[in-house]
Symmetry: D2
Subunit: 296 residues, 4 copies
């Protein structure tokens, strides 16, 4: 892709996910003004061709702002400041983090008040997938805006799934996906603990499963981690998984949808955090069932 078609992107949040995503924007010929709370990741990205943003106001002077921040409260404290938005010239903010439906709705209002468009585009895939440009992008918002930022999605992901004109639709979709992953973790934890108690190697069970009825990255990747009780390094930290379960429960509550598995998941994640597994991979939630069965 030639530099002439590149966009002027302000990028906020160079964590495990964000640094790979921003690097892929650079590789695709976009210019990136990067900002991060700690300066180290910015320096790394500058070495790949990015410009270090002086401050957030500098980021919002770009055409498009892309952010990949940890949770609702960080987004709200950093990017909703009236003084920041009042001076912004960016036309659209693309929020690619897993945040709540409520935040997405508030964002639409806050940004509209300052003439800035808002697109929600959370992604499926972990850090190494982000680094490889293989993310699946779940995007929602004004179709005109989505068309405008599509080149950015093309640079960061392998496929974009448009799920509606209201940005919060993308958040609901992403929350539902992570809920399904969390349910898969818990169900594998219970099935593996049962299998082991019954004399079957958990890894044999996972091997059968993933070669027959339940193939794919979730069951094979996390299944192996659970079977081998190998929860480090953390591909996705358990405390973030807990946050996502809470997002699902909150979304359910807002719509009066009982999420019965969610109550079980919530307790299992609390149990895991209470036992010091918060910074391990979220598949470590499996240890909760093992502990209860007396086989930890």
């Amino acid at each position: 892709m030639s530099g002439s078609t590149g966009m002027d992107v302000g990028f906020v949040g160079l964590g495990a996910m964000g640094r790979g995503m921003a690097a892929n924007l650079l590789r695709a010929g976009h210019s990136v003004r990067a900002w991060n709370r700690s300066p180290g990741p910015v320096d790394e990205l500058v070495a790949e061709g990015a410009v270090a943003a002086a401050d957030l106001a500098d980021v919002f002077a770009a055409d498009v702002v892309v952010s990949m921040l940890a949770d609702d409260s960080v987004v709200e404290s950093l990017l909703f400041a009236p003084e920041l938005l009042a001076g912004a010239t960016a036309s659209v903010h693309v929020n690619m983090a897993t945040v709540s439906v409520a935040l997405a709705r508030r964002a639409v209002e806050v940004y509209a008040a300052h003439g800035i468009g808002y697109v929600a585009a959370p992604v499926l895939g972990r850090a190494e997938v982000a680094a490889g440009g293989g993310l699946n992008v779940l995007a929602a918002g004004d179709p005109v805006l989505l068309d405008r930022v599509q080149p950015l999605f093309d640079a960061m992901g392998r496929q974009t799934w448009r799920v509606g004109d209201e940005p919060d639709r993308a958040n609901t979709t992403k929350i539902a996906c992570n809920y399904l992953i969390a349910c898969a973790l818990e169900s594998m934890a219970e099935a593996c603990t049962l299998a082991e108690a019954g004399g079957i190697e958990p890894s044999a069970l996972i091997d059968i499963l993933t070669h027959t009825i339940l193939p794919g990255p979730i069951y094979s990747g996390y299944g192996a981690m659970i079977a081998e009780r190998r929860y480090e390094p953390a591909g996705f930290r358990l405390v973030l998984g807990r946050k996502d379960v809470e997002l699902a429960l909150a979304t359910g509550a807002a719509h009066h949808v009982p999420m019965a598995f969610g109550g079980v998941l919530r307790d299992a994640f609390i149990d895991a955090v209470a036992h010091g597994d918060g910074e391990r991979d979220w598949s470590a939630v499996a240890e909760s069932t093992r502990r209860r069965a007396g086989s930890a």
Copy 2:
């Protein structure tokens, strides 16, 4: 395969699964003496080359007995009768149904007392897979016996997974697999109800899921049924799914393994039966969440 290498098989239980399995034995050159509680399916199989067994004693006069019956109580009432086994000349009984670990253990004893070997070989796959010879066979038992009956597994399935020398290992494995499927059903039910409440078409969610993180027959096949609320014809009847959830809970209880999702599943299946969905496909358990959310 030439008839000269064919085995003499007594086959009990020509339900939706059994008739396809027995037909594949015939096609592979084995001779089959078939018995079924109701005569219709026997006649059909005779048209394909089987012999109608005069009675169960006739079945147990074959070299190998294969059975595919509904549940523990049917197996126990039909195939554990002392007078039947006392006169039997079969060398091995291959039980391919999803039965309890406790029944498998009892079977080993009962058959050993009459000098008959016992192999557990439950299968993964529904009726159409059985008809096509594409089952996955989960087999456990004495390796000598397993080797002897392997040609039968080759005729009925696409792959055999040996999981141990104790027959009950195969039952535990099968119970764990069905538990994971039931968990996938419930988690899709909750995620789809959430998605719909949040403005997303359930079928769009399933489409994204199955093309990204959760591919494979369970999520795509049952996902479509749940998204479209299409639970007929029943590929696997809900009352049988309920039985399998109970098998998982009972196995967990025997080993002191809490199955937290199992409690939720149990209630959802009870709720489904209470609302008249017992004879529909077990994916109809999804309606329980919809009802609770007031969106049924």
Copy 3:
């Protein structure tokens, strides 16, 4: 009460409950032929005026048989034997144990076939209450039979609650009562763990509760045990409590009633047994929540 009005009672099962109950029958002037699997308790009761039954046939030669056995399987193996009942001259069997609804129904048939009446009369109260004659008797069966055995209930309990003409009604009532106690245990466990984590002494919470909104023996007695983590000696063994939770779940399943708290209870009891608390008082189920919270 004068001996002239006393009844001729065969008593089976002199466990912690049964010995106090039988002793109260003696004190009220009834004659008792006692049988127990181990002879020790029989000897003790003989010292109080009972006669040691030669065997169960001797027990069933009395006018009325009263039994207080551990569970369904013991009742079935000891008291349903056709050869025993064929020779029996007793007019009625009063089963005072907590057994299943299914067993009660089978009992009605089995006894009717031998011309013996069947009354279900499980009781509320632990061993010390039984010894003091303060049990509450939950009785169901043919009113004529109930009238006939009422003097026995009067001797053993402080009040009799008649709940129907079908014996199983008494079992359902008793199962529902024990279910409510188990729910109270678990809810106190969770509330006390929460309180302690929040800086409140569990005993202070229980003190407030039992002097305001939740008075009575369950909350005050078990509450103190949970607050003080004092689970020995066992007033009611945890494994029996687990059995009663299973009875509630089975009764619910038979009627298609989801028992959502029951799933939680089941797992908590399994967890407790897995951690070696099966022979402690059933209030030890509270330790499950403490363990999960990392505060055990």
Copy 4:
């Protein structure tokens, strides 16, 4: 009590509870400046001797401010305003509502910054109990402040339970109490549905329970409502009960305490709201189990 010993009280929140509480303050000889969002209840109270506060600043010009507001957000929006507190001359704010532990902690800081003491004193008892002066007051805070406001508690309640020096201790205690009540509701719902399915009148079950093992106002009062399916008028609205379950879950989450019954309660309340029972008494949560069992 003579007017000479009366205190100068600003009272905020004349809902179903607050009006009775404020009236009892008047009866005990205290002077009350009352404020309410809607003026009707203020007029009623003025007829009993109160003074209508001009605004909230007028309320905070009293010696002691007592508030009884619906939830965290109302407290925060009305009573945390810096401009209000900057001009306040009140020495202490007594918050008697059921609010979160987090709010209590924030309140301590907010008020301390303006030199105002903060006492948490949520109560046990419904509107008619408040009207009769029979509340149980759960109080926590600086003992000097508690001593100072004790005459107010004496006027409004029958007993005061001091649970600590940190105000949030009272909130934790109250949250634990309401959690136990909610658990009692759900367990009665399940037990009554089971009983009815088994041929027992729910009211007969409740009658037995409350005269034996589970006496007291919660089981007898709510038990009758559940047995008779009589949920109006609402003594305590279901939406408020749902809020209290969420408070318990949030408090548990903050301390890493899994509240397993809480997940079930949450879903049952969501189900109840989804079916239009939000404004009925919170015992209407019982209908959720009935619906699931197909017996609604």
